[in-house]
Each structure stands twice: as structure tokens, then as C-alpha cells.
């Protein structure tokens, strides 16, 4: 509880207190941040989740807003592990104590573990211009990471140029990521099935030389 660097910062969440939220002044409630940037570059960033085990969904859209621009990313990895580098949690379930009960019996665990998620940067917005390429500078360290709401997702996915960015990522499970992203984005769009067709056609154009991969992703899009 005392460690400023430890846990998922349960003790310091001023933004969730409505009284202190700056946006109250203009009457629009601002969603609570879901994480904070802890590692950053122009192509991707990693954030630590504010709450243990509470991360945006795989394939979901997140954003970091600075005074100059809003940077958008797609979550491609979620990881929960020990707080210290190289440390590894040990087995705790004994005498029939399992799952949730382990946490209940060991409240200090939440201070020893952390959840992180990483996002590929897919575009940014400066003023009213939405650009589907990388920003000139990375999102700043320790800035808040928010989840995008549905209108933002619908606006972001009007152009699907970011599929190529995702396809060219080296460390991500790209195919599964695309399928997850398209499923999430289609829910946010006005017409779910036409969005999936549109996204599928964009994929077909990008993957015209890799038919097996294309069909694998398309299969993942059909529930």
C-alpha cells in the first residue's frame, strides 16, 4: 500500500473522484483512465493498468491525450506478473484454497502483482484531422490511457488503413488481433454485418498473396 511504484495504484486514483475531475467544469463527465504509460515509443506503448486484472480488451482501442494531439492504439498484449523484474509468483493454493480465495486470504498479493497492456499505435488526431499513420512523437510517459468509446471507434474505423500497420507488427499475434479488433469495431459501427464485409474486403486486398492466412482470419470473423 505504501509503495508508490508497486501494485496497480489502488491508493492513488484521484481521477475517479468526480469532484476533482476537471471536465466537470464543462459538464461532460470524463471516463476514468484505465492505465498509465510506463514504456513508450512512436510505434507502440505499454501501460500499467490502474487496477490489477482490469485491462482493456485484446484488440480494443485506447488513447492517450496530450495538449497537442490524441494518440490512438490497439491493445495487442495483456500481461499480469510480479512487480519486480525477474520475480515470479509462487504457488499459493494449499489445503483446498483455490482461485479467488487465494486473493482473499492474501490481500498483499495485489501490491506484489501488476497488470500491463501494450498497444500498437494506429493513428493520431490533431485538431479535427484524423491521421492513420504514426505520430511525430510518442505518447509521454505516465500519461493516462483511456479506453475509446463507441462513437470514437466508429470514427476511427471509417478508414481501415491501420490494418496494414497491424499486419506489419512483429511481436503481436497479428491474425488473432485483427479478428478481435474487427469484431469489436463492428459492434461500434452502425451496421455490424456491412462493417465486417468492408473490413473483410480490406483484408482481402492486403492479403491477396496470402490466401490461407486470409481465410483463417475470415473464419475467425464468423461467429
Amino acid at each position: 500500500m505504501e509503495s508508490l511504484n508497486g501494485g496497480n495504484g489502488l491508493a492513488r486514483q484521484p481521477a475517479i473522484n468526480p469532484a476533482s475531475a476537471p471536465s466537470i467544469a464543462i459538464g461532460i463527465p470524463v471516463a476514468a483512465p484505465i492505465g498509465e504509460v510506463v514504456d513508450t515509443s512512436v510505434a507502440e506503448f505499454t501501460a500499467q493498468a490502474c487496477k490489477l486484472e482490469v485491462a482493456p480488451p485484446f484488440g480494443g482501442f485506447v488513447k492517450v491525450t496530450t495538449s497537442e494531439r490524441t494518440i490512438y492504439g490497439v491493445v495487442y498484449a495483456i500481461h499480469t506478473g510480479g512487480l519486480e523484474p525477474g520475480s515470479r509468483p509462487v504457488l499459493r493454493g494449499r489445503d483446498g484454497m483455490r482461485d479467488r480465495a487465494i486473493f482473499d486470504q492474501n490481500p498483499d498479493l495485489e501490491q506484489l502483482l501488476r497488470t500491463e497492456f501494450s498497444a500498437l499505435i494506429v493513428g493520431h488526431q490533431e485538431g479535427s484531422a484524423l491521421r492513420t499513420y504514426l505520430p511525430p512523437s510518442p505518447p509521454p510517459l505516465h500519461w493516462s490511457v483511456m479506453e475509446c468509446n463507441q462513437p470514437e471507434i466508429a470514427q476511427l474505423t471509417q478508414r481501415l488503413d491501420y490494418f496494414r500497420t497491424i499486419l506489419s507488427a512483429s511481436d503481436a499475434p497479428v491474425d488473432a488481433l485483427l479478428a478481435a479488433n474487427i469484431r469489436l469495431a463492428s459492434v461500434a459501427s452502425l451496421n455490424e454485418s456491412s462493417f465486417r464485409i468492408r473490413a473483410g474486403r480490406e483484408l482481402a486486398t492486403l492479403l491477396k498473396h496470402d490466401y490461407p492466412r486470409l481465410t483463417a482470419i475470415l473464419r475467425a470473423l464468423v461467429d
Binding site: 464485409i197 473483410g200 474486403r201 482481402a204 475470415l218 464468423v222
Partner: protein, 556 residues
């Protein structure tokens, strides 16, 4: 506008044609071979024909492992992306875009000399495009039909049509006769030329014929006997006619015998014997040979030929003599031929019915003898006209059926029809060749045909023959081969700016009404190239008929 866009040009050449990638939103099934499309280039509009439709895939794996039919999502995603349609397009004409200083803005479309740039947009042609290419409605433009997929008139320039010999081809039952009727009606209505129709089956002239139970009007009920005259070779014809045609054996020349060699079953030796007889016995040689009282020994002596061959020739020539319109000798005045020619000179259209003479022998003999006479008269008048004596004879179009019998490679060099087909328009006489076996027609004659209107043909040889002498014929083969066997035709050549597959106009009550309406709007429509000078053109229908001698001078 974007909804009409079919796709984008992606590659091609002027010689081999262009290839367009079909837009994902367009269905391949909506495109027809032979469809008329417009490509918008940077400086020109290009008018083109779709010559082939293809399916392509960007990835060969797709071809090996296509999505299953129940995977609707994959089908919808892949169609138009990984798997797409492509069009083969042959550019035909180009027209400078508005605002360009190119002269073709004024002059109308010209043959293509270049091709549109990459990614030029391909659109379905609309009515305005058809009007730009085939011309606005005018007296000399006759609506021959409509494109296969649109309700827009395709017009034939009749003035250009009658300038050269033309062909109507198609296998039996595909609507050749109706197409020919349409052309006759168009020519009568426009006055672009005078028709002489050798009507083997008595179907074009007076009586309303029944075809498949449907009554069909001939030319006389449609235009009246003042404009269309019917002559007959059948003395006992029951149909109303304006005259009986007969002629003498002395009119028959050795060229006729050569033409009829197959029908008379004469071998080469017999034809030579006939030639010998003609040179020794003079113009009445057939009459003398076939005379019942002929003395064979005496004839042998005169001709100096083998007795058996003379007897054989006699027997064969009896087939000619037995035709009821043939007499040993007929004077010019009695033959009726002069009256027929006089009718033509007065710009009256003439249908010559064969009545019960349904044999090819009668048809070929009569057509050849009569046409030779007419050709001589026309040639003479043209020469006189050139020397400043007398008016120019009217443009004449002679319709012959079973044309491969007259114009096969053996006969074409000998018969008058071969001469007319090759001479083209020098003597104001052209042919309308109606045939179901164009491959039987001499190549040289075929290549001289100005406009060809072709109904469905099965035989590859016939299709090749139809396209003989046409540049870029390869592209048109697919269109021709895809025609329905009823009321569809492809038209190409001199009288249309570009080849076009079409649904031919219906020869029905609506068409009869159009004729009546047009006739009331323009009662007499002579062309400037016709027989009469434009000043007295109207007068000819009012003035009493002039005598033949008045028109042509004395003919001996």
C-alpha cells in the same frame, strides 16, 4: 454517375484491346459480350465494345481452394477483391472531349488512333452516347434495332448503306427475311435507292404472307402500288401484279449456261460444247438446238462437235426451254422487261415474283438475264451522263437470295452479280445479298461487301466468311457466336460507325404505323444522288409516267 461505372482500365494495347478490372460492386453477370461502353480518357471519350468477360483471381490458392458456397461471408468478401471480374474491351471510336481544340468535336467520332490512359474509368453507354455515335434521328437514318441490353435506337445510315453492296447472313429461321423486309422498308421510306427484289418465295411483294401463323404485310400493302410495283414470271399467277415478264432464248448467253452448269448437271466438256454451239449457231443457238424439228446431223455438221455431246446438251437445254417464261424469241416490247426498267427509272420499287417457279434454275437464270440487261442500261446511262447527255440513273439496289449460288468462287468471275459486287458504286447498282451459307461466297466478293448484317450462325466457316476483310475480326467472333437465334443480329461495316450487336426491330403493327406516319410526314423523299434532279423530284409523282424512251432514249 459512379453507379454506372463498370471499372477501370488497367492494361491493354490498341491492337489487342484493353483490359478493365471490374469494380467490386458490379456483377459480371450484368455485362454482356457486345455491350457498348464508354471510356473517359483525359482528352477523349472512347466508344468501345466489350469483347470478352473473364474471371480472375489474384492468388492461385483461391482457385485451388475456393470458399464453399455456404460460407456466404467469405464469398462476399472475396468477390471483387481477391477474385474479380475483368473485361476485354475493344476501342472503336474516339471523340475529343468538350473544350478540346480537336476537330472531331465538330465532325463526330473517328476511328481510334490511340488508347485511354491507365485507370481511365469505364462506363455503361447511355442514350446520348448512342446518339453521338449512330447519329440523331434523320430522314436518311433508319432505326434497324436496339442494343441487346438497352432500349435505345441503333440507326443505319441508308445513304451510305446503298452506296455499296451489302450482305444479310444467318442460318435458316433466324429472321433474315424480316431483316431484309426492314431494310427494304427503310430504303423505300427514305428514298435512298430503288429496290429491285428477286423474290424467290413470293414473300416480299403484294400479298400478306403468313409466317408461323402471323400475317406479315408485303411492300405493296405498306406503300401502295404507286411506289412499289410487282412483276411476275408466273403467267398464271393469282396475285395482283403490274406485269408479266418473259424473255427469249436468244437472251441467254453462254455465261448463263456456265452459271447454271450445276443445276443443269453439265460437265466442263458440255459447257465447252455449248460455247461452240453459240459461236457457230449465233444468238438463237438454244432455240435451234432445242427445236423439236432440229436435225441433229445438220447441227453436227455446223457445230463440228461430237454427236453424243450435242444430243446430251440438247436434253439438258430442254430444261430451260420448258420454263414457262421462256420463249424461243421475244421482242423487246413484249418481254415486259422494258416496263420493269422504266418503273425503276421512275424510282418505283420493283418486286419480281417467281410464282410457281420455285426452282433454283428458274431463279438464277431469270435473275442473271434481267440483271445483265439492267446493268447494261445503267452502265450506258452513267457513261452518257458523264458526257453531259441525260440525267444520272437512280441508285439501284438488287436483292438476291441464295446468293452463294451466284457468287461462289467459280460463278463470281462469270456472272453479272460478281461484276456488280466488285464494281461497287461506279454504276449506281449495288447488291443486297441474302444468304445462309456465306462461306460459299467468293472471298473477293465478301471483302467488297460494305455493310454486313449477320444473324446467328453456327458454322465456324460461315462466321469466318462473314468477317472476311474486317479488321480486328477476332474480337467480333465472340459477339457473333453469342447471338440468339431469334431477332438478334450483329451489324458492321460502311453504314454504321462501329459494329454493334442488336435486337432487330420488330416487323409488326407498330412498325406499320411508323411507316404510315413517316409517309405522311415526308411523302416523297428523293436523295440528291437519285435519278431526278432535286428540282423535279416531287414532280415525278404528279406528272404522268414518262415513257421509257423519253427517259433513256431508244434502246436496241
Amino acid at each position: 454517375m459512379a453507379d454506372d461505372r463498370l471499372g477501370l482500365i488497367v492494361e491493354g494495347s490498341l491492337v489487342d484491346g484493353l483490359r478493365a478490372r471490374l469494380d467490386g460492386s458490379q456483377s459480371v453477370e450484368e455485362i454482356r459480350v457486345g455491350q457498348f461502353v464508354r471510356i473517359i480518357g483525359q482528352k477523349h471519350d472512347y466508344f468501345c465494345l466489350v469483347t470478352d468477360v473473364r474471371l480472375h483471381a489474384t492468388n492461385s490458392d483461391l482457385i485451388a481452394d475456393p470458399p464453399l458456397p455456404d460460407n456466404e461471408f467469405a464469398l462476399r468478401v472475396l468477390a471483387g477483391t481477391t477474385a474479380y471480374g475483368a473485361l476485354a474491351i475493344q476501342p472503336m471510336l474516339m471523340l475529343a472531349r468538350d473544350g478540346s481544340d480537336d476537330a472531331s468535336v465538330e465532325d463526330g467520332p473517328r476511328p481510334v488512333r490511340t488508347i485511354p490512359p491507365h485507370f481511365a474509368q469505364v462506363f455503361k453507354a447511355d442514350e446520348a452516347d448512342f446518339n453521338r455515335v449512330f447519329g440523331e434521328e434523320a430522314d436518311h437514318r433508319f432505326e434497324i434495332g436496339q442494343p441487346l441490353d438497352m432500349d435505345v435506337p441503333v440507326r443505319l445510315d441508308l445513304t451510305r448503306f446503298v452506296e455499296r453492296s451489302n450482305g444479310v447472313f444467318g442460318k435458316s429461321g433466324t429472321g433474315k427475311s424480316f431483316l431484309t423486309r426492314l431494310l427494304h422498308c427503310g430504303i423505300v421510306t427514305s428514298g435512298a435507292a430503288v429496290n429491285l427484289i428477286f423474290d424467290m418465295h413470293n414473300e416480299y411483294g403484294s400479298a400478306s404472307q403468313s409466317d408461323g401463323g402471323r400475317p406479315v404485310k408485303g411492300l405493296v400493302p405498306l406503300f401502295g402500288s404507286s411506289r412499289v410495283q410487282v412483276y411476275t414470271l408466273d403467267r398464271h399467277s393469282k396475285t395482283k401484279n403490274d406485269g408479266f415478264i418473259r424473255f427469249g432464248l436468244n437472251e441467254i448467253e453462254i455465261e448463263d449456261i456456265e452459271l447454271l452448269a450445276d443445276e443443269l448437271r453439265l460437265n466442263a466438256t458440255a459447257v465447252e460444247t455449248a460455247a461452240l454451239c453459240e459461236s457457230r449457231l449465233g444468238r438463237d443457238w438454244i432455240a435451234r438446238l432445242t427445236d423439236d424439228d432440229a436435225n441433229v446431223a445438220e447441227l453436227n455438221e455446223t457445230v463440228m462437235a461430237h454427236e453424243a455431246s450435242i444430243s446430251a446438251l440438247q436434253r439438258k437445254l430442254m430444261m430451260i426451254r420448258n420454263l414457262s417464261f421462256i420463249e424461243p424469241r421475244v421482242s423487246q416490247k413484249d418481254s415486259g422487261l422494258d416496263r420493269l426498267i422504266e418503273s425503276l427509272a421512275k424510282k418505283q420499287h420493283v418486286v419480281l415474283e417467281f410464282g410457281h417457279h420455285s426452282s433454283l434454275l428458274a431463279y438464277m437464270l431469270a435473275a442473271n438475264v434481267i440483271t445483265r440487261r439492267i446493268h447494261r442500261v445503267w452502265t450506258q446511262r452513267i457513261e452518257e451522263n458523264k458526257q453531259g447527255r441525260g440525267p444520272e440513273p437512280p441508285q439501284l439496289m438488287i436483292t438476291i437470295e441464295e446468293a452463294h449460288k451466284f457468287l461462289n468462287s467459280r460463278a463470281a468471275n462469270q456472272t453479272i452479280f460478281g461484276t456488280i459486287a466488285r464494281e461497287l458504286r461506279k454504276y449506281n447498282v449495288t447488291l443486297l445479298v441474302v444468304d445462309q451459307r456465306p462461306s460459299g461466297i467468293d472471298d473477293e466478293v465478301l471483302s467488297q461487301l460494305g455493310t454486313r448484317i449477320t444473324c446467328a450462325l453456327n458454322d465456324d466457316k460461315d462466321i469466318d466468311a462473314t468477317l472476311a476483310g474486317v479488321s480486328g475480326a477476332g474480337h467480333l467472333r465472340a459477339i457473333l457466336a453469342s447471338l440468339d437465334s431469334r431477332q438478334q443480329a450483329m451489324i458492321l461495316g460502311h453504314a454504321v460507325p462501329m459494329p454493334m450487336a442488336l435486337r432487330t426491330r420488330s416487323y409488326d403493327d407498330a412498325f406499320y404505323a411508323w411507316i404510315a406516319e413517316t409517309a405522311s410526314r415526308r411523302p416523297v423523299t428523293p436523295t440528291s444522288q437519285g435519278w431526278h434532279q432535286s428540282g423535279d423530284a416531287v414532280a415525278t409523282t404528279v406528272r404522268p409516267a414518262r415513257r421509257y424512251e423519253e427517259l433513256f432514249g431508244k434502246d436496241d
